[in-house]
């Protein structure tokens, strides 16, 4: 199988799977089997692509669909950052599919066919977004991703879900239309191209004020990255079923946001220019503030999923901050953190969903002693928490390490301070949960093991194991991140 074909296969598989599972909608077992097979096929295609392109020596494969506007084609091109994102999304999709099957059946959710279809479309859009060759293609898939996740967020169909959906859509669609699109068209007006080009597309003589404003427009336009003050949609979207939260927080949506920002920094502005733009410094401060404030808010939440949501907001700003710093090590950290956070956060969400499926508990004070009832789930939760805090032997340590190196290089004491404070806060809001779960007696302790359905437990365990493995064998991801940034790890 050639490179070109692998690329096509990666792009098409989720969509074909989506069509097939709609056709099989009447037979739930067949439908779910199709979902699993599709996700496996996608992973195979991604692996084929990775084997060809992972070392970065081969000429990147390209694919052009059609010319949308004169001079702008809808097309795809493989590059290391996109490859990294594709690998994460494909791996996590499999786990998420298995988990979804257990969760959706365990909770007797309605409209499961629509659910799996939207899921497949969202993954298809993620693949397109990750591999897009220019900003317009990326924008198209960015919007498809927003719209395809809307039915997932509002899956419950209640008015409460509709209100949450309104917030979700309002923030994401609003920022993308008002800022992101404007930034894209402005870029097009200034440079006459939207192709992702190493070292950026802006000419030397573009004035600093325009560039600053554009940079700010991009950061705020990419609402999926949830920098404050456009973070409200993420906690609102917590009404969705847990697999959707996992999709939002780990697999696709927020990752698409920070991925897009990193991509814009790398291939539209270029790292050198990013460091020079006055606005990038302000974005570093804003991201740093977001990290600390969101961690602080997370500390005060008593609902487990909401705490996780605010934790995500703070973790996302690590990537934004690293990207805005623009040095080689910082960019390495940004790329790596996209992967690392994905694995850690999906573990945590799966654990939260697993608890909900087995016991219908959602509040943190209810979790006393639950470690004895659900040892597998809570072990996984612990690993996820360790990764979030950034301790070895979990993957979170890696990206924090490189970010620290990048900050040291620049002698950016603000960044150092932010990392230290947020690490403390992270520890403060995760470890008490772990402690309570394992070392405090439950109010209703029956002494029996009462785990969630096996697909759920399997998925949680897989995610936790992957988080550990990523620390022990980081090379597949680290080499890609190194290619992206040009730093030697």
């Amino acid at each position: 199988m050639g490179l070109q074909e692998s690329l096509l296969l990666v792009l098409l598989t989720p969509w074909v799977g989506g069509v097939l599972l709609v056709l099989a909608g009447r037979w739930p077992n067949l439908r779910d089997a199709i979902s699993v097979v599709t996700s496996l096929l996608l992973l195979l295609a991604v692996i084929a692509l990775y084997n060809h392109a992972g070392n970065g020596t081969a000429t990147p494969p390209e694919l052009t669909l059609f010319t949308m506007l004169p001079g702008i084609e809808v097309g795809f091109r493989l590059e290391p950052l996109g490859m990294l994102f594709v690998v994460i999304a494909a791996v996590l999709w499999i786990i998420n599919t298995i988990y979804s099957i257990g969760y959706m059946r365990g909770n007797n959710e309605k409209h499961q066919t629509r659910f799996y279809l939207c899921f497949a479309i969202a993954i298809g859009a993620t693949m397109g977004l990750a591999l897009s060759a220019n900003l317009l293609t990326l924008f198209i898939f960015y919007e498809v991703l927003t719209l395809s996740t809307y039915p997932l967020v509002t899956h419950k169909g209640s008015m409460k879900a509709a209100r949450a959906g309104r917030t979700y859509l309002g923030y994401l669609l609003g920022t993308s239309i008002a800022f992101f699109l404007l930034a894209i068209i402005w870029t097009w007006a200034l440079t006459g191209t939207l192709e992702f080009t190493p070292r950026g597309i802006f000419k030397q003589d573009t004035d600093a004020a325009s560039l600053s404003l554009l940079f700010v427009l991009y950061i705020f336009g990419i609402g999926k990255a949830a920098i404050m003050p456009i973070h409200r949609w993420l906690p609102a979207a917590m009404v969705a079923p847990t697999p959707v939260s996992a999709l939002l927080h780990a697999v696709a949506v927020v990752k698409a946001g920070v991925f897009t920002i990193t991509k814009v920094v790398l291939y539209i502005f270029g790292p050198a220019l990013t460091r020079e733009i006055p606005a990038s410094e302000w974005i570093v401060y804003l991201a740093g503030t977001t990290i600390v404030v969101a961690s602080w808010i997370a500390l005060r939440q008593t609902n487990l999923k909401r705490r996780l949501a605010y934790s995500t907001i703070s973790q996302l700003s690590y990537v934004i901050m690293a990207a805005a710093l623009g040095t080689a090590y910082a960019l390495l950290a940004a790329a790596l953190h996209i992967a690392v956070h994905a694995f850690g956060k999906i573990t945590l969400f799966f654990a939260a969903g697993s608890i909900y499926t087995a016991t219908h508990k959602t509040e943190i004070p209810q979790l006393k002693g639950i470690g004895r009832q659900m040892p597998w789930t809570m072990a996984a939760f612990t690993i996820g928490a360790v990764s979030m805090v950034g301790l070895p032997p979990a993957a979170g340590f890696l990206s924090k390490w490189y970010l620290l190196m990048g900050a040291m290089q620049l002698q950016a004491y603000f960044v150092l301070a932010v990392i230290v404070i947020s690490t403390l806060l992270n520890a403060a809001y995760f470890f008490p949960i772990v402690h309570a779960a394992f070392f405090q007696p439950a109010d209703d302790d029956t002494g029996k093991i009462h785990e969630a359905p096996w697909p759920v437990v399997l998925a949680v365990s897989c995610a936790a194991v992957l988080t550990l493995l990523l620390f022990l064998y980081p090379w597949p991801v680290l080499s890609l991140a190194a290619l992206v940034s040009g730093a030697t790890p």
């Binding site: 059609f66 198209i140 719209l147 509709a162 239309i177 008002a178 404007l182 068209i185």
Partner: protein
């Protein structure tokens, strides 16, 4: 042959109209009107191809020569061909749609009358696009307007009568202003032919009466195209007209008036006079801003969905005038693109709304509760067309928005880009109100909860336009490539 095609575009619907009355049988009449609008569509496609390949097509009616005699010249350039294409396209879809739609809205014996008025209206609109004679343009404009008054008055509601009457008063005042303007030009130049006028008028721009004629013509056509604040006739007319008529007029009538306005600016008076000397461009831009913002805000407040779409049209007309007012190749290109795209999108929206009215009898937002489960295809059509109105990528609306924003991103006019973006955010709000009501609200307690999906006779034409609006969002050679070419020829770089 090809030259005759040009005049056939007008002649076919014009002659089919009386035939409809003679045929009498509802089904036969529908067949005839579908056939003749279909023929118009075919001809306009052929003509567009021909104009694209070998340039402007002209035709002399009766073979009289222009300079001396009263021969009427017909001429089709790229701009006109593009407008003719979408007018006949919408005309064809609505003709197909009207048969089923009218079953519930009009007694059977009136169907032939409806078809006759409909075809006359189409003939008038197509006539405006093909004529190269300003007086002829007035006549065609009145043919289309008079028949549209009749069409609107056929609405089920008695308020339709009053809406139609008010439109008649406003429309006639507008047309008479146009007539005065044409008369003043004629008394100075002795010709009515557009290309002849374009040659002689630049020498006369100092004369007060030519300036007055410009003012009269601009004002007259601004009334006809419902530019804010001359839009008051539009919401009621679209709200109370039969569904098919709302869809047809929303897609074509105001658009063709804007076409005529652009013609007068660029092909009769000329850009140096209108834009540079008389600053009409600034006036149009100034009026387009409240049109966009207030139109959208009023759309948000409406409970009646037809009225909501009507106010949304007023906002979209603001976009169109904005492009005309900026008066660069890019901005006029954007206007032409948006003329085309918005015609498809807005007609599709009105048609899907017509499906809802057909089943529920109401167009209130409250009657939509839980309708998505009962009429999935209709609501899907509305949703997709609504996304087009917002301007989501892969829909035709995105292309318009891209072109428009690109045209406003100049050192002087960039704040207009912000206005456009705010307007499209407001569009998200009013479209999403509908979607939430249909997909999330439980059916009203009083209702049976058993509304059937709309019949195929309605769904097929609706989806035809919806799919086309997606197609033109991906394949943009016609609605963007040709539009820019047309604008280049019109504004002349």
């Amino acid at each position: 042959m090809s030259a005759h095609l040009l005049i056939l575009l007008v002649v076919i619907p014009l002659f089919s109209a009386p035939l409809c009355i003679l045929l009498r049988r509802s089904r036969l009449v529908w067949l005839l009107s579908s056939l003749s609008t279909g023929a118009c569509l075919l001809i306009s496609i052929l003509l567009l191809q021909q104009v694209y390949r070998s340039g402007t097509v002209t035709y002399m009616l009766g073979g009289w020569s222009t300079p001396l005699g009263i021969g009427i010249e017909y001429r089709l350039d790229l701009f006109a061909a593009l407008v003719a294409l979408f007018v006949s396209l919408v005309g064809f879809a609505v003709a197909l749609y009207s048969y089923t739609s009218l079953q519930k809205e009009l007694p059977r014996h009136k169907h032939p009358l409806f078809a006759a008025a409909y075809l006359l209206c189409l003939a008038g609109l197509l006539g405006i696009t093909v004529t190269a004679d300003v007086f002829n343009l007035f006549v065609f404009l009145e043919i289309s307007s008079l028949s549209s008054y009749a069409l609107i008055s056929m609405g089920r509601d008695r308020a339709a009568l009053l809406a139609s009457f008010r439109y008649l008063i406003m429309g006639t005042i507008g047309a008479t202003f146009l007539l005065i303007g044409i008369g003043l030009i004629y008394s100075h130049t002795g010709t009515l032919n557009m290309s002849a006028l374009q040659k002689v008028l630049p020498a006369l721009t100092g004369k007060a009466s030519i300036q007055a004629s410009l003012a009269f013509i601009m004002l007259g056509l601004a009334i006809k195209s419902a530019l804010f604040p001359l839009h008051l006739w539009l919401p009621s007319a679209y709200t109370h007209a039969p569904s098919a008529v709302s869809a047809f007029l929303a897609g074509t009538a105001t658009k063709v008036s804007i076409y005529a306005l652009a013609r007068f600016i660029y092909s009769v008076f000329g850009k140096p006079f209108v834009i540079t000397q008389e600053h009409i461009g600034i006036a149009l831009i100034t009026l387009s801003i409240p049109a966009m913002l207030l139109g959208s805000m009023l759309a948000i407040k409406q409970q009646n969905l037809k009225r909501m779409l009507a106010y949304s049209s007023i906002a979209q007309i603001g976009y169109l005038f904005l492009g005309l007012g900026l008066s660069t190749v890019a901005s006029v290109g954007a206007t032409i693109t948006h003329l085309f795209n918005h015609a498809l999108i807005k007609s599709a929206l009105f048609l899907s709304l017509g499906c809802i009215v057909y089943r529920t009898g109401k167009a209130e937002i409250s009657s939509l509760s839980g309708l998505a489960r009962q009429m999935p295809w209709t609501m899907a059509a509305f949703t997709v067309a609504g996304l087009g109105l917002i301007g989501i990528p892969l829909t035709a609306g995105f292309i318009s928005k891209w072109a428009l924003i690109r045209a406003t991103l100049t050192p002087d006019y960039w704040p207009l880009a912000v206005v456009i973006l705010i307007t499209s955010l407001l569009a998200v709000v009013y479209i999403w109100r509908v979607i939430e009501a249909a997909y999330f609200q439980p059916p009203a307690p009083g209702s049976t909860g058993r509304t059937a999906e709309a019949p195929l006779g309605l769904l097929v034409p609706t989806w035809l336009l919806v799919l086309l609006s997606l197609y033109f969002g991906i394949q943009t050679t016609v609605n963007f490539g040709i539009a820019v070419k047309a604008a280049t020829a019109l504004v002349g770089g």
